[in-house]
Amino acid sequence: MCLGIPGRIVAITNSSAKLATVDVLGVQREINIACVLGENETVADCIGAWVLVHVGFAMSRIDEREAELTLQLLHELGEAQAEARTMREGAMP
């Protein structure tokens, strides 16, 4: 829960609400990216960016190498697949 998981922003779903689609290990879901937007940045500027995602919120920009490193760490801790599964399942309304 606390380590977060790296993902790549692949699409914008609602720019006023700062929502985007992120791809985490092939799982795509909507997350909030308000915390990683720079002062003069638009949501669209973030497409392609790697971010660290905590419970549905991008909390930090990271570079691709950091992303790879963190994914490997989570994999070795046995948390990567579980996190991706939870992301996919969430709660279906």
Partner: protein
Amino acid sequence: MTQSGMKFVDEFRDPHAARVLLRELELSIERLGATPGKPLQIMEVCGGHTHAIFRYALKDLVPPALEFVHGPGCPVCVLPMGRVDDCVAIARRPEVIFTTFGDAMRVPGSQMSLLQARAEGADVRMVYSPLDALALAEANPTREVVFFGLGFETTMPSTALTVLDAERRGIRNFSLFCNHITIVPTIKAILDSPGMGIHGFLGPGHVAMVIGTAPFEFIANEYKRPLVVAGFEPIDILHSLLMVLRQLEAGEAKIENQYARLVDPDGNRVALEAITRVFELREFFEWRGLGSIDHSGVRMRAAYARFDAEKKFAIPNVRIADPKSCQCGEVLKGAIKPFQCKVFGRACTPQTPLGALMVSSEGACAAYYQYARRSHIETAA
């Protein structure tokens, strides 16, 4: 720069670099005069670090005169029984859909866990994000959706922003049962506890990513203990340990940032603004094993009362003492090791947790149980 990702990973996993760091640690410990009988105690505050320390067997790799004390940094682990009972009471209301992170489902209450409450008919659902809970509220306008918010400053922004989103979208059947806790007063309580023998700290990387490094300054200024904000790679942890020891050797106490590639010393502005808007400090908050700690939790401000489950529902709010056989408090303070608890591995296992430290893989007891047993099996094989 066309350095491939793989190469970078290798740098961080470089056994040579690890060996150099371990050798430096050994020399530093020698100079500091620590011995296995009188070890240097370094507390890792964050449960994520605890997990990594076990996974990579760092505690067996570092010199025996260096001892990790596993801190209270697993938010699920420190949840008191009374709060779980409150969750169960809310979840059992027929109009309520109670949503929670999966980790919290198995934490024992005085009567039952949320998982057991669900088996008995309560509508408890596991979500990945508070955003999922808000979506559930929107999709079920005749129900009351309650999100069980827990965690340190790492998850606080997510619930604060979700509440602000609920307000913006006028969703009225959503509320937050706020059990967020804040790490700084808790470190202070540990520093104030009698017999405290901790020489230095590895600081929680992702909490610092949100709040910055300034809130930790008092540890250096008032308590003269070094703290190094650390990343989660094995090399990060070893490097941070060495930074702590170097300070001790120089007779210094400073807050340093080993995880600068992610942690801005000022923290995250948007996240901090959302937190301050929605939450205020409670006078005190109850922790499992540690008792009541002043200003260690947050509640929702009056302006957001209509999204506050504590205001919306009658909450029993009964304080339940930890079971007598549990020694979670002593483990959290570093006074005993998990396997020294009388019920460890007997009455208390990850399948049947008595204490919360056995529930999540970030809890010290579950980590000992999982990894100590595994290494035992590996050596036997």
